[in-house]
């Protein structure tokens, strides 16, 4: 395992989504890369993400959504963060975040407009996510 890098992540699978495998692997990989990880598991509400971020003083919220309802589930998360005093917190989303095979440029645009800092397509590897986190959080 790498040295701890002092950065804290809250991760989880949003909404009514029960896909449990990917998030477990992300947790493992993020820890290996030196992050402190709070893994909320599956079926996480926006409120739970925010509560955990406040509680742990998180630097980023990493939202996973596999089952297709990501667009409905993620709406308003940025506003709620702002209201809760998490202005500017890094927001990632990834997985299979919309229903069906859609042009990813469109999808990315819609999620950017919803306030996510980065949007990842299906099949993103943990390594790619870690590279972005390191860059955005000024690690390494």
């Amino acid at each position: 395992m790498e040295q701890e890098n002092g950065k804290r992540l809250v991760i989880g699978v949003i909404g009514a989504d029960v896909h449990a495998v990917g998030i477990r692997i992300l947790e493992f990989a993020f820890r290996q890369a030196g992050f402190q990880v709070t893994n909320l598991g599956v079926m996480v509400s926006q409120e739970e993400f925010i509560g955990a971020a406040l509680e742990t003083g998180a630097d980023a919220i990493v939202v996973s959504s596999l089952y297709g309802h990501g667009e409905l589930d993620c709406r308003g998360l940025r506003d709620k963060c702002d209201e809760a005093g998490l202005e500017g917190i890094l927001l990632y989303v990834g997985g299979n975040i919309v229903v069906g095979k859609q042009d990813f440029n469109d999808v990315e645009k819609r999620f950017h407009e919803m306030g996510f800092d980065r949007v990842f397509p299906p099949g993103t590897t943990p390594e790619q996510a870690i590279e972005c986190l390191n860059k955005d959080l000024g690690v390494g």
Binding site: G15, A16, D17, V18, H19, A20, V21, R24, I25, F28, G41, V42, M43, Y67, G68, H69, E71, L72, N96, V98, V99, G100, K101, Q102, P122, G123
Partner: protein
């Protein structure tokens, strides 16, 4: 409430719960059992799921069934007609959306409205409760193929009422298989009870001369599930269903990837389910089998996805499973288009037809069958012991203690102490046995298999090995070898 027992509900028991269930959403009030029986009785035989399954079973044929669900009724009719006519489906599905699965009918309603407005599917399936009895019947009437509800709903009572009254003749799910892989916080006792309701309702239809096929959900988390684990769940759920009066059961299994293990698994699943049902006094239940093509992570590349689809089809054909559930070349990316869905089916059909007349009869097949059957017996017999001969109680205690343990499950009621990994030939074995009550010989067998692989790969068996196996098929192989 009384302690849960594996005992047939009385009509009064059922009715007292029904009253409440049917008010959970406005469409519940349209359910009228007598009228529903009448609707079922006038269905032509070719629309009845069990009829088609039992005929295929007799002829040793393998039927092809896709998954599919979109939010709006007209789109759904269009989609299913396409899969029936172009995809040549033998059996049709109705995949339910994830809000309905969580009884969040309000959100489902929003999804319907949004989908109608944006002309884009905003739900990942068909919200049958919101569309109600008449909505379902529009599908049944429009199609010439038997339909099944496929979902993943821990509390499916209202959905069942509406689906059955709506004319569906087959229904997937069970108290364990639709809880542990599909929920986080629902106690097992609750879902087992709610599925007794579903099964008793199914029994009522059977008693009224309306056959409804029930399918315990075989693949569970779809991720490195050893055959004996899913077999144990399938047999427990079959016993519980049979007690409530279910007469037609399809037990399922998700392809593991090793030919011998997979063919052995399907064949043992059929014989062992038959055996246990007979043993418990349910010898009149008709049992058929379903193979699910690879249920774990798929490769993104479509031509590779076709390879995975074909290999699953080959297993179904060589094992002579009664039906096969088909994946699509879009699997890794998202809910498939109708064209991608039909493509998966035609590919499957080609393999089934080329291989359906061939059989596998290998030296190792018999060994593997003995192994899977012994493992399953270890678990089932301990369940009964734990439950003092009651399978319902046994199941609860077995899951709690990890006697029955489902890998990668989201439910906090699952022990998660057992860890599976592949052996050197790609068969799924146990890397940590956890609390699974295997005999010492079986434990040795698993240990040796894992040691053989570890030696070959020149590394210790570890969680990294399991992760490598989770990724393997999506990265183009079966065994997750270390990078060199």
């Amino acid at each position: 409430m009384d302690q849960l027992k594996n005992k047939k509900w009385t009509r009064d028991q059922l009715e007292s719960v029904r009253k409440e269930v049917l008010t959970q959403w406005p469409t519940g009030k349209d359910v009228d059992l007598e009228e529903a029986f009448a609707y079922h009785q006038q269905l032509p035989r070719h629309k009845i799921f069990s009829e088609k399954l039992n005929k295929a079973h007799e002829q040793g044929k393998t039927l092809v069934q896709p998954r599919a669900g979109v939010p709006l009724i007209q789109d759904m009719i269009h989609l299913l007609t396409y899969l029936q006519d172009v995809g040549e489906a033998d059996l049709l599905p109705t995949t339910i959306d994830s809000y309905t699965r969580q009884n969040r009918y309000q959100e489902a309603e929003m999804g319907i409205t949004e989908s109608a407005r944006t002309q884009k599917a905003m739900l990942n399936g068909f919200p049958a409760v919101n569309h109600g009895v008449s909505g379902c019947r529009q599908l049944i009437d429009a199609l010439d193929t038997p339909l099944q509800v496929r979902h993943g709903t821990p509390d499916a009572r209202l959905l069942t009422e509406i689906a059955y009254a709506g004319g569906y003749t087959s229904y997937e799910g069970g108290g364990i298989s639709y809880n542990i892989p599909y929920a986080k916080n629902v106690p097992l006792e609750t879902t087992l009870r709610d599925w007794q309701y579903v099964d008793r309702l199914t029994g009522l239809y059977e008693e009224a001369g309306c056959p409804i096929n029930r399918e315990p959900y075989g693949p569970l988390t779809g991720t490195l599930v050893p055959p004996f684990v899913s077999h144990s769940v399938a047999i427990i759920e079959s016993i519980l269903a049979a007690e409530q009066g279910v007469k037609n059961i399809t037990v399922g299994y998700g392809q593991c990837g090793n030919l011998v293990q997979d063919v052995a698994a399907i064949q043992v699943l059929q014989s062992l389910t038959d055996e246990y049902l007979r043993k418990f006094g349910y010898g009149d239940v008709k049992v058929t089998t379903v193979l699910h093509q690879w249920m774990g992570g798929f490769p993104q590349e479509e031509s590779k996805a076709y390879a995975v689809i074909s290999w699953g089809s080959a297993v179904a054909a060589l094992a002579h499973a009664t039906k096969v559930i088909v994946k699509t070349p879009h699997e890794a990316v998202g809910v498939p288009t109708q064209e991608a869905n039909a493509a998966g089916m035609l590919c499957t059909r080609q393999i089934i037809n080329m291989l359906g007349e061939q059989s596998l009869n290998t030296y190792s097949l018999k060994d593997e069958k003995v192994i899977i059957a012994s493992e399953t017996r270890c678990v089932l017999d301990r369940c009964l012991e734990l439950g003092k001969d009651d399978m319902a109680q046994g199941a609860i205690l077995a899951i709690r203690s990890g006697v029955l343990d489902i890998p990668f499950a989201p439910s906090r009621y699952n022990a998660g102490k057992m860890l599976p990994a592949r052996d050197n030939d790609g068969a799924i074995r146990l890397f940590h046995t956890g609390n699974i009550p295997l005999t010492p010989e079986l434990i040795d067998f698993h240990r040796e298999k894992m040691e053989e692989r570890a030696k070959y790969e020149n590394r210790q068996a570890s969680f990294q090995m399991v992760i490598d196996d989770v990724y393997a098929i999506s990265k183009g192989r079966l065994v997750g070898r270390p990078k060199v």
